[in-house]
Symmetry: C2
Subunit: 206 residues, 2 copies
């Protein structure tokens, strides 16, 4: 812990009152609303899971949204079935990839897929009815140069509707993308069960 916890109630109350005052003061300065460019990267778990959590949050609020999967399309995920079965009215779901690239071993085909997914992504983002668009695992397509980072960055900066949130996930996010991101989180792996011989499990990994 970075800080010692309080030892008695008075000190705690005083500390918390100070915290609240500071927080209220800060929050009062936060007045803008804008569509954010959100990036989830890093080698840890939770990049796509947190992004899909944001999509479910939008669905919960009745906000039209959309998902384009750049890489994981070949894997059936719980999120995909839940969205397609229950919430297709609010959330468009496009699984464009065909599994991880190391499953296909065909670069030309991967590039074709990534380009088609990006075409769909642009169409969805340009439609201002979408309050959030998730580009799942796009960082992998960018990392292998299946997509041109400058083209993606330029599109997001110049053509994304002001109020639309765009969430981009995947390891090895490019610096050019992080530079234009409003909110970027790195998921860092501290511990992983595979290391102790546990396999990927329903509900946890997919």
């Amino acid at each position: 812990m970075s800080e010692k916890p309080p030892v008695d109630d008075e000190r705690h109350a005083a500390k918390m009152a100070k915290k609240k005052a500071a927080r209220d003061k800060i929050m009062a300065t936060k007045t803008d609303e804008k569509g954010l460019i959100v990036v989830h990267t890093g080698k840890g778990k939770g990049k796509s899971t947190a992004a899909f959590g944001m999509i479910f949050r939008c669905i919960a609020h009745g906000m039209p949204c959309a998902v384009v999967q750049f890489i994981k399309g070949g894997m059936a995920t719980g999120e995909r079935s839940l969205i397609q079965d229950r919430f297709s009215d609010l959330c468009e779901f496009h699984a464009m990839g065909e599994g991880f690239t190391w499953e296909t071993q065909d670069r030309a085909r991967d590039i074709e897929m990534a380009q088609a997914a990006w075409e769909k992504a642009r169409e969805l983002i340009r439609d201002p009815k979408h309050r959030m668009v998730l580009l799942d695992e796009i960082n992998i397509a960018l990392r292998y140069d299946y997509l041109d980072i400058d083209e993606v960055v330029t599109f997001l900066v110049e053509e994304k509707p002001a109020m639309t949130h765009v969430v981009l996930t995947g390891r090895n996010a490019k610096d050019e993308l992080l530079e234009i991101a409003d909110l970027a989180t790195e998921m860092e792996l501290l511990k992983h069960p595979f290391r102790s011989g546990v396999k990927a499990q329903i509900g946890v990994e997919f």
Copy 2:
């Protein structure tokens, strides 16, 4: 990028084939199924969002699950309404806290709430029908010693049913908890829109 991307198709195919072989070999050794102790910590975004994403994943697979909110109960979240309105048959939701501690400034009351939430958590975890139980923001209750870390760790190690996944979230996860975790992720903040005067927004923050 930690590694240069491949420059031509042959090298790419060879590299990916090698990757796939290595991955298949590793995955073949992963045969165990067990209930995991999963921790999401760190100062970044996505700790609770990814945990709720896992809950929605369980719901998608028809796996009974449960959520206990230790701190955020006072905040209406999209996840909460979506689960309570649409999936109460599969997921029990208990919002036990009453907002962040710095909103209450009453340590005795916070401790009482945390203890009641922990009581409910134990009851839900002991019931083997729950495939996953999310203890949202429990790390904050542990950090301020509203709950005894040794009691929590001992319970998880000795009483958690073998196949039940328990997900614990919040900043400043205690070392004792990380030691028994099967899967631990630190969400690290790279960039945050509050810094540029943007307020918390529906769909993104809540």
